[in-house]
Symmetry: C2
């Protein structure tokens, strides 16, 4: 066995990810040392409560409550505690003391990323965060390095496992949203308060990180338009199936031309969307994640895998740890964040996409013509209309109560569509605007 | 506009990849300079014939026939000429002169990789090869860096677009192998001599590269067991469909325990295999590639995209170029190849997997029992049997001519299976062993 010098590793947090990081590091220490050319010595694991139960076995003597001392004695700090404070303060301390930092903390990056990257660059330290998006799926490194010579046009990401599990159950098992959420909670996919997942906050943080990387532009989480899945109904999912679509909660990051200024800009948004059933993203089931990238030269790429889980996330953390440790061994600064493009962040109103609008209308002659006119007045071009007559009663007593129109549009701006929908809602021939869904991946 | 110092780039080859690399570099030069922090100046493109037709527009004054002078004046050399010589000699010259090298040349890496990596390490230069496997799909970097802290168990790769296109046509359009190959040739997916694709040579080179990376062990191409798709019939594809499978040409790289020694070893092999229809790899259609990775902590990951094409491959080359150029700007050595594990390469006889065996047998009582006994004598456990009676004649004249048995096995070694199949072929109740296919992804 070769003798190496040891790099000192501090771990902040011993929750489901931290405990797995520690346990894998202890288990595979020798193999990792051979890959790196240096030993990886865990000097301590900072926790709030020494006696809290852990999901993996950790030697008791490694646990410590004084995070600051641990940080100041470490070459590399792994932050897997989550939350904004004191994580932000600890990482600032680690970076200013010259340690490299590895974090899985998407909330922190999406809110305080730019200032942390700035500190890192100033002192020549590195900030790694492969685990912050897509769990074990390598997506940060491919975007930052592999596609660094290409130009990314669009990212469509299923980046929240909980909502994908819920929508998948609604699609494949016929669950209502409530039933699917209950199942997700029971399986531990959803937390007691599912707001972060269901309302798209988690996905929006990841969208901010992906858009920043892909477009070399700082995108903060408040620049991300956000709609969750609370309003998605079983009826919508069934109607989507019938027209050859699947409903997914997507993080969409797009480089587009601002219709106001004619100049390039960036849009990042999270919302439920219809995806064609034959699209690779439509086959992402359960709590899995996938990121679909469209680039100028590379064409379409997809990265797929488990988006969460302590052990899976730990894999991404350890990959970053090996990178950071190799840099310590061979010397030399790493790579700073690239935000040179600094494109404007465009509001949702600047986005153009396709839509599927479901209307309950009166069942009488001339209704379709009136509605079509209304679309064309706003410059929204209709691609397809499906009409079905809704009946009340049954057998021989049935009578027509109205009809349902499902209207698919060509590409239109959000602005034009919003104006169209407002007019539809006020039209005397429309009983109700049942649903408006964006269509992506066509 | 910021003024940067220029890095000198030499390109060897102006075929479909080289021409695209040059044209993208010239088109996006300023954007790439901003990402790198240095200008990327193409000092010349080495070609054999200055007047050959090109697939992209390249300024005539950049073309040169003296590759050696170009190489000696370059900071970074991009080799996209293909073939073994003179590519090997040129890369050796580039590395010994201290230039970093980027290559898309899988044949060269699979045969002379170890000596080139050794030279690079000696002089502190870097050898990048993201484009050698899976075209634009980032797979080298994820394996080398993102999964560096994890332990890869198995890779199942669709790494040859031509054969995937052919098998996909046989599966979805009902083509015979000959019809599908003709279509692939017409579309330019298959070359006039399709041997490298059809007989699995191309996939075997990629398997050698993937296995070396995943298992930190040098795997040469002659250590890869290789079977092509020439023997795959439309009947096999139809039978596979009926039992819920798709036939794919797979590159399988596996870490396994050598049954002879009880110690860990590596198997790399290329052969047609049955994949369950619900497996993510089964949905990889046309000429696309995908690499499915099973790792200890990360679980299952998949990387999907266009596996070939000049522009797609150029994207991977440019990603490597940005990495190499950043290293020149920030200084410091890069990362050497990691072959510390140095596991033994096991022959195909040490592999165990599942099989599906199709037999034509006599249609009389007791046949199934005899065949089942024969399997069990070799320790091969039968999981499922489907029997169908084949008739000759038609209408009222039909008579039973024999039966077809499709036998699925549990996991068994290649050795045991080969012995079983030899005995089946010699059995008086077996008219013919119709096909033996491995089953992966279960």
């Amino acid at each position: 066995m070769i003798e190496y010098r040891n790099l000192k590793i501090a771990i902040l947090g011993a929750g489901s990810v931290g405990a797995q990081v520690a346990s894998l590091l202890l288990e595979h220490g020798e193999e990792l040392a051979n890959r790196v050319g240096a030993g990886l010595e865990v000097v301590g694991i900072a926790v709030r409560d020494l006696d809290a139960p852990r999901t993996a076995e950790i030697p008791r003597e490694l646990l410590a409550t004084d995070a600051r001392s641990l940080i100041l004695g470490a070459d590399i700090v792994i932050e897997v505690m989550g939350g904004i404070e004191p994580a932000r303060e600890y990482l600032e301390l680690a970076l200013t003391s010259g340690a490299d930092v590895i974090t899985a903390n998407k909330a922190l990056l999406a809110t305080h990323g730019p200032e942390l990257f700035a500190i890192a660059e100033q002192v020549g330290a590195q900030l790694y965060y492969e685990a912050a998006v897509g769990g074990a799926i390598p997506i940060i490194r491919p975007l930052r390095d592999s596609l660094a010579g290409d130009r990314v046009h669009r990212i469509l990401g299923i980046v929240n496992g909980t909502t994908n599990y819920i929508l998948d159950r609604m699609d494949r098992d016929g669950d209502t949203l409530e039933q699917a959420l209950a199942a997700a909670t029971e399986l531990g996919y959803a937390e007691a308060d599912p707001t972060a997942d269901i309302d798209g906050f988690d996905a929006a943080q990841k969208a901010a990180i992906l858009a920043s990387l892909a477009f070399h532009t700082t995108v903060a989480v408040d620049g991300v338009h956000r709609e969750g899945i609370r309003t998605v109904t079983r009826d919508q999912v069934v109607a989507a199936q019938r027209s050859g679509f699947v409903v997914k909660l997507l993080a969409v990051c797009e480089r587009l031309v601002d219709p106001e200024t004619g100049r390039d800009g960036v849009s990042a948004r999270v919302h439920p969307a219809l995806i064609p059933a034959g699209h690779p993203l439509a086959a992402v089931h359960g709590a899995n994640n996938a990121v679909f990238v469209e680039a100028e030269a590379a064409g379409s790429l997809m990265f797929y895998g488990a988006g969460a889980g302590g052990r899976q996330t730990a894999s991404a953390v350890l990959g970053d740890l090996v990178s950071a440790a190799r840099r310590h061994v061979v010397g030399g600064p790493g790579v700073a964040e690239s935000t040179h493009a600094d494109l404007p962040i465009l509001p949702i109103s600047s986005v153009s996409t396709r839509y599927q609008i479901t209307l309950s209308v009166l069942d009488r002659p001339g209704v379709l013509a009136q509605i079509a006119t209304l679309f064309s007045e706003h410059g929204v071009s209709v691609e397809a209309v499906q009409q079905s007559v809704v009946t009340v009663g049954g057998g021989e007593d049935e009578e027509s109560a109205g009809a349902t129109l499902v209207i698919g549009t060509h590409r239109a701006t959000e602005k034009a569509l919003a104006a169209t929908v407002a007019d539809l809602a006020g039209s005397p021939v429309v009983a109700r605007v049942e649903s408006v869904l964006r269509v992506e991946g066509l």
